[in-house]
Amino acid sequence: MGRPWYSLNETSRESYEMGKLKKFLQQSKFVMQDTLQYMTEKSVKRFVAAICDFVPLSCEVHDSFNVVNTYYTEEQIKELGAPKEKIPLFHIDLTVGEDKRPKYSTSAKEVVSSILAIFDAGIKSLQEITQVEQKLLPHLFK
């Protein structure tokens, strides 16, 4: 039978390239990539849904004290029995700024940019995952 097919102690890069271990690792790599992709898609969808859940269908601003938000259509309310209580996503304070004028503690733009930044950071965190191949056979990959 000669050399074992899945030798982890293979020292020659060439025989590794020919052997079955490489094929096996390739396949595991594909499985892992697939997993990452599906996990990411699902996560992003869930994140988007979680954020969108706080977005009303329509919003009527009468003044800064009177705002009417509609979250459900009438059919949905009929189905649910009664509209569910909604909480606001963010807690924002009204403060007096340096120029002595009242302002919000977080500007609207900032809210949007933070959500986008969180999204980017999440995607970025998936980069630079070491390949199993390199961890398993450090003597072949230097």
Partner: protein, 330 residues
């Protein structure tokens, strides 16, 4: 085809729409409503003057003919206008042109003006014939089920024993002779008697059918018997087995249980990863933006650490343990 009085047609007690073959329809139900609308637009463009006459914009009304039933159950084809399609009941709703009465009809009773009547006739015919056949089959089986069974011989002992030994020859059942088989056996016996009756009935139906039963039966054609194969096995063209086998072993990674086991464990690890989240989608209270950022960040760094450290190393270890060199093998 006589259809003046549909309830007197053979099999008329069965609803015709149940035998309609939808695949024979040239358009989907929705398309019957849409295409007309488009056409109307162009028509309107051509003859704008005529529509202005009416003044009011018309709703979609599609000209068609439907089967109209009068009080005595007699049927005529009459003009009607279809207004909409009801998805759940699969009926078209509209009104009769002469009486303005509302009506709901199944597709099989409607001939659209735009439709090729020959196609419709074909389709109607198929439904009609299928119904006649269904009616005959029901009667046929009814006759057989009601033939007396008490003079039919039962399955003899030898056969019963063979059935019992074959059916109880599984891991779970072996050796448990106590299991009660009498009800099951009587069911088998009943089927046996019914089959014998069917053979008898078939024979008499062929020789003097009309005298035996009340009306003619239209039965589907008998399937020709399949030719018995000469061999009890499948024939494979000649080939070089050792060579193909060695090729397979050389190219496949599924010929060693270590690799199969390893792949299975890797998949399990990956399935665990699929359950994880990059972000935290469970927001149950209002919070400041900074707090929100913090929560999301911690969940992101958690998954990042898990993937880079735990996950990859776990998979590495799986491969290492599975493929650890067996001293006996090398």
């Amino acid at each position: 085809m006589e259809f003046r009085n549909p309830s007197k047609a053979p099999g008329g007690w069965l609803p015709l729409e149940a035998f309609d073959n939808k695949e024979l329809d040239s358009r989907a139900p929705k398309d019957w409503m849409i295409i007309k609308r488009d056409k109307k637009k162009t028509k309107d463009g051509e003859a704008a003057a005529s529509t202005e006459h009416d003044g009011n914009p018309r709703k979609t009304e599609i000209g068609a003919q439907g089967l109209w039933r009068d009080r005595d159950g007699l049927c005529f084809w009459r003009k009607l206008k279809i207004q909409k399609y009801l998805l759940t009941s699969e009926r078209y709703e509209g009104y009769w042109e002469n009486t303005k009465e509302k009506c709901r009809l199944h597709r099989i009773f409607i001939l659209f003006d735009e439709e090729d009547p020959r196609e419709f006739a074909k389709r109607f015919n198929v439904a009609f014939d299928t119904r006649v056949m269904a009616d005959s089959l029901l009667k046929y089986n009814f006759y057989i089920e009601n033939m007396p069974t008490h003079q039919i011989p039962e399955i003899d002992n030898e056969e019963v024993n063979r059935i019992l030994s074959m059916t109880q020859n599984t891991k779970q059942l072996r050796g448990k002779s106590s299991s009660d088989t009498t009800t099951l056996l009587s069911e088998v016996n009943f089927e046996f008697a019914k089959t014998l009756n069917k053979i008898i009935f078939d024979k008499h139906l062929k020789s003097n059918g009309p005298n035996l039963i009340s009306g003619p039966l239209v039965l589907p054609e008998e399937k020709p018997k399949e030719e018995a194969p000469y061999f009890g096995m499948i024939t494979i063209p000649p080939h070089n087995f050792p060579e193909q086998f060695s090729n397979f072993c050389f190219n496949s990674i599924l010929n060693k249980d270590q690799s199969i086991r390893a792949m299975q464990e890797i998949r399990k690890e990956c399935n665990d990863v699929l359950m994880k989240d990059i972000y935290n989608p469970n927001i149950t209270k209002s919070m400041r933006v900074t707090e929100f950022k913090q929560i999301q960040k911690s969940s992101t760094s958690q998954i990042s650490y898990y993937l880079k450290e735990t996950w990859v190393n776990k998979i590495k270890d799986i491969i290492k343990t599975q493929f650890a060199e067996d001293p006996l093998q090398s």
